[in-house]
Symmetry: C2
């Protein structure tokens, strides 16, 4: 049970978390915080939060759980604003899509990774953003990765774990660096490809026609290119090393495939497509 | 009205077309044809066809409409099998995803592009294949591109147009070469990227974990990598020049994006993502 939850950044993820915890009766009061009021007012209207404060120090007063759900680029500033303002016993977690950078931001702001900090990443969301897109049940049966540092207190990790379990999510623990490698491959790389593809097509001469003839497959394929640019910009740079590594790997393989098509290497292309289909079918058969 | 429709290749597209024409009462008899019987038997069980013949010459006897719905690599052989076997007045169309290669196959088989041939491409389908995946209503409000050659008879083109209009599709005409450029960009290129991405991830050390943590966005992004490998192999080589051109364009732009991330060019990445999101949102806002 959380007595007072402070959500800093009441958007898609922060808002959906608050909705679930309220529905399940797992939270007393929910306080929203942000530097601007528009999204907070909307969150209040929607009943996602009980009240808000644009002063972060005031917002976290007497909160026993603080969830930082802001773009990764704002993490250091938020941590700095929290320094010395948290109640004893308060636990802080985040929802960022890269985790090494969160530990760096914490070290910058607090001088070390504080024991109350439990970096976390719910593997959920849509291409939409903002509290209007938040919904109940978003985390049900989805995974939440916790990446506790050696400094992280066990009771703090347990409290964050219990909070996410309350939404129906499955909890997994791994190191921040391992998380960042895996997510670079499965999430950050595909976003780069989708954004780049749409941009390439948009700069072709036949631009209008191209989008007109884009069928259902294209719509699905590029859905993630409708994600928030600022958030994804921050993720790319927060996880730069792992992302560049994944991108280079992909680029090499794509160039090999282009060469195979150029030289008419039918077997290589058929083998590539056959491997990929078998893999995807295998790993998505349960949903 | 079609008196006798022969569908050569009763799979996802051929089967769905037959279902719609039957439902709308736009066809008398539907004859299935293929070199193998398994899919034809299933099509008969499902009520998609009235009868079948594995001898193509026999199957097209007295058919006034012949729809060739086989992978592009089989097109020349099918056209050869049709030579001299068609009724006077019979119209032949296809559903291939590349159109220049269909005109080449026709020229190979018939010595010229015959006046009764109306190359066509319904922009519809799913990642599934086979007659079991066929369904009514697949073409409703979707586009069907006709690419008549100068040799194509106007009455033949009109008959194919009417057939597709009967399924609720919208008909568009353009040249085969223009079609191939546009589809290389919107469909063949994305398929190459999806197949390559899944293959890259599948060969990473953390393979099992990577697919385990792949979220909804990844599932959508890679859906087209579950498409039939043989069919897409054929498409890639049938539309090789336009596809290689689109791939090179994409590869250049991706390398520029990788460089921008490497050198920390925040503005370039934010501009890229912002352009792409605006474009996708604009072109998909109606559906």
């Amino acid at each position: 049970m959380i007595n007072r939850l402070c959500i800093i950044g009441v958007g898609l993820i922060g808002g959906s978390l608050a909705r679930d915890l309220r529905r399940e009766g797992l939270v007393g009061e929910v306080v929203g915080a942000s530097r601007t009021t528009s999204n907070l007012k909307r969150a209040l209207e929607l009943g996602v939060i009980d009240r808000y404060d644009t002063n972060i120090a005031a917002a976290v007063k007497e909160a026993d759980m603080v969830v930082v759900a802001v773009p990764l680029g704002a993490m250091t500033d938020i941590f700095r604003a929290l320094r010395g303002k948290l109640d004893d016993g308060a636990v802080v977690t985040d929802v960022g899509s890269a985790k090494g950078s969160v530990l760096e931001a914490a070290t910058d702001a607090f001088g070390e990774v504080p024991g109350f900090l439990v970096p976390a990443h719910p593997i959920a969301g849509t291409e939409h953003s903002g509290v209007d897109a938040s919904m109940e049940g978003m985390f049900k049966d989805r995974m939440v990765i916790l990446t506790p540092a050696p400094e992280t207190r066990a009771d703090a990790a347990q409290k964050v774990k219990s909070m996410w379990q309350g939404t129906g999510a499955k909890i997994i623990e791994m190191s921040a660096s391992h998380h960042d490698e895996v997510l670079a491959a499965t999430s950050h790389l595909p976003h780069m490809l989708a954004y780049t593809l749409v941009d390439v097509l948009g700069r072709m001469e036949e631009r209008v026609e191209i989008f007109r003839f884009a069928a259902g497959g294209f719509r699905d394929f590029t859905r993630i290119a409708s994600s928030d640019p600022q958030m994804w910009h921050d993720i790319c740079f927060a996880n730069r090393d792992a992302l560049v590594h994944a991108l280079e790997h992909f680029s090499d393989d794509l160039n090999q495939a282009i060469d195979a098509i150029r030289r008419g290497d039918s077997e290589a292309i058929k083998a590539l497509f056959t491997r990929a289909k078998a893999l995807r079918d295998e790993y998505t058969k349960n949903g």
